[in-house]
């Protein structure tokens, strides 16, 4: 159970998250949608404790992440897996060392175990025979998938996905959706996924939450969101150019230049 209570975060006076409240149930997949730049990545980083809230709390199993000391945080983080938006693979390490980073650093695994775990994780994201390549030799979508393999390598209890399907082709994107669903069904993993891709959101989500102006304005099942009356959510999910979100912005002027 992850509870986010009155979370506020701003950068140099620019308010990104403003009294945000959200509860994430164990074993569920929660998808967070919202416009580009509305603070979804910032929210994920607050949950895992890389960013500290200005005020408010993030409680994971009842404990405040911002108040933990280094030891507690490390124990907690081994239960978390995170896929970064830009994959954030370590340039100086090859794919094997990247994927098995946790095992190499924190566990006394044998090379055979490591090799097996790496092969398995890479196979889950549809990659093989690239263990000895460096991240710079991979395509953007491949890097994203290696990042995903790293996040799931030690089968954490909670996985945070920052735009898992962005930058991969539609077929691979759907395979990733299936992978997220499978992890959820088989291993009962709690997932929080950020995405703009509504097809993916409807497919993987148990619940969808929309972030707008620093707050969660709606939470609901995919069906509830599909049939929402809220004009802001409606505009976002249908991708309409005109509506309350873009009120006062003149797109004609963009076209005419």
């Amino acid at each position: 159970m992850i509870e986010i209570i009155n979370l506020c975060k701003s950068f140099n006076g620019h308010v990104v998250l403003d009294n945000l409240n959200l509860a994430i149930n164990t074993g569920e997949t929660t998808v967070i949608i919202g416009r580009s730049g509305c603070g979804k990545s910032v929210l994920l980083k607050n949950i895992i404790g890389i960013l500290k809230p200005d005020s408010g709390q993030v409680l994971v199993n009842g404990k405040d992440v911002a108040k933990m000391d280094e030891k507690e945080l490390n124990v907690l983080r081994l239960k978390f897996g995170m896929l970064f938006q830009g994959a954030a693979l370590f340039d100086s390490l090859n794919v094997r060392e990247n994927v098995a980073f946790n095992m190499l650093e924190h566990m006394n695994s044998s090379p055979v175990e490591i090799d097996k775990a790496v092969k398995e994780s890479l196979a889950l994201v549809g990659l093989k025979a690239i263990e000895d390549k460096k991240p710079a030799e991979l395509s953007g979508g491949m890097r994203k998938r290696v990042g995903l393999a790293r996040a799931i390598c030690i089968r954490p209890q909670i996985i945070l996905y920052d735009e898992p399907t962005t930058g991969v082709d539609p077929i691979m994107g759907d395979a990733i959706n299936d992978l997220i669903i499978e992890l959820h069904n088989k291993l009962k993993i709690t997932s929080i996924a950020v995405t703009h891709d509504m097809t993916s959101a409807y497919k993987i989500a148990n619940r969808i939450a929309m972030l707008y102006n620093g707050k969660i304005i709606t939470v609901g099942t995919p069906d509830e969101i599909k049939n929402t009356k809220d004009p802001i959510v409606r505009q976002f999910i249908t991708g309409a150019g005109k509506g309350p979100i873009t009120e006062g912005i003149d797109f004609e002027h963009l076209i005419r230049g």
Binding site: K45, I48, G49, I50, E70, L73, N74, V75, R77, L78, F80, M82, F84, Q85, G86, A88, L89, F90, D91, S92, F101, N102, E105, H106, R150
Partner: protein
């Protein structure tokens, strides 16, 4: 009145930036020292860094100290010949190299070569979220990135300094013996005899402090880099500039200290 106030405000901001910067360096140094004795010890990474910092710097350090030794000998010959005191050229070269030029030149070379590359590497890791990723993988970035570089520099910079001292003396020898006609025995005697243990020691003490400066400034600049490739470029420049300034200031301080205290 308004202008004076504005000036004061600007000065205040500058001062606060300065305090923040030195504070940041001090905190990073403290944390680095705290993490050194904590397991795991990354022997492989330390050796990798030692080879990048030390072995790869040998050619440029050799070149510069050789020429510096030669120039020192030639310049002093110009003066000494007036008093027919050429034989002291040997001791002059030996003293200047071990006490001053060896440590400082080596530190400046390493700050330019290694400090810049540390900042660029760590800075790129910062702006591409690799440092955040380290934290999410329950790994302390200071332990993982700074400590191996710190130890490698602490070991390699003094060794490079000793090496530079030696090459500098060889440079002086080439000029002294082959150009100015001082005998081999005379040159060697005038190099070794007046040179005391403490001359080497003062040079080495300096180089330890220079190693700390280079590593901490480079890593701090890297870890605070912001704003993509441009930001990394800016951090790299200021990393080199700040380490140069601090190295020279620190050198001045120690030279004065040794002069007054250890005469």
């Amino acid at each position: 009145m308004k202008k004076i106030l504005d000036l004061l405000v600007a000065l205040g901001h500058r001062f606060m930036d300065f305090v923040r910067y030195t504070g940041g360096l001090t905190i990073l140094l403290g944390q680095t020292i705290f993490w050194i004795p904590m397991p795991p010890f990354r022997r492989r990474q330390i050796f990798e860094q030692m080879s990048r910092i030390g072995v790869d710097s040998l050619p440029i350090v050799s070149l510069i100290s050789l020429f510096t030794g030669m120039v020192l000998a030639l310049q002093s010959a110009y003066q000494m010949q007036k008093f027919s005191a050429e034989m002291y050229i040997a001791s002059l070269v030996a003293f200047s190299m071990t006490r001053e030029l060896g440590p400082v030149l080596t530190a400046l070379i390493v700050a330019g070569r290694v400090g810049a590359s540390i900042t660029a590497e760590v800075g790129t890791m910062k702006v591409t979220e690799q440092i955040d990723a380290l934290e999410t993988l329950a790994t302390n970035p200071i332990k993982y990135l700074v400590v191996p570089r710190f130890l490698a520099l602490m070991i390699m910079l003094p060794l490079l300094t000793l090496y530079a001292d030696m090459i500098g003396v060889i440079g002086g020898y080439i000029i002294g013996v082959y150009k100015l006609g001082i005998s081999h025995a005379m040159y060697m005697q005038n190099t070794w005899h007046p040179l005391k243990y403490k001359d080497l020691f003062t040079g080495l003490v300096k180089s330890y402090f220079f190693a700390i400066i280079i590593c901490i400034v480079a890593c701090y600049e890297g870890m605070t880099a912001e704003g993509g490739a441009e930001g990394v470029g800016r951090s790299t420049t200021s990393s080199v500039v700040v380490s140069f300034i601090l190295i020279i200031a620190c050198d001045c301080f120690f030279t004065a200290l040794f002069y007054f205290v250890m005469r």
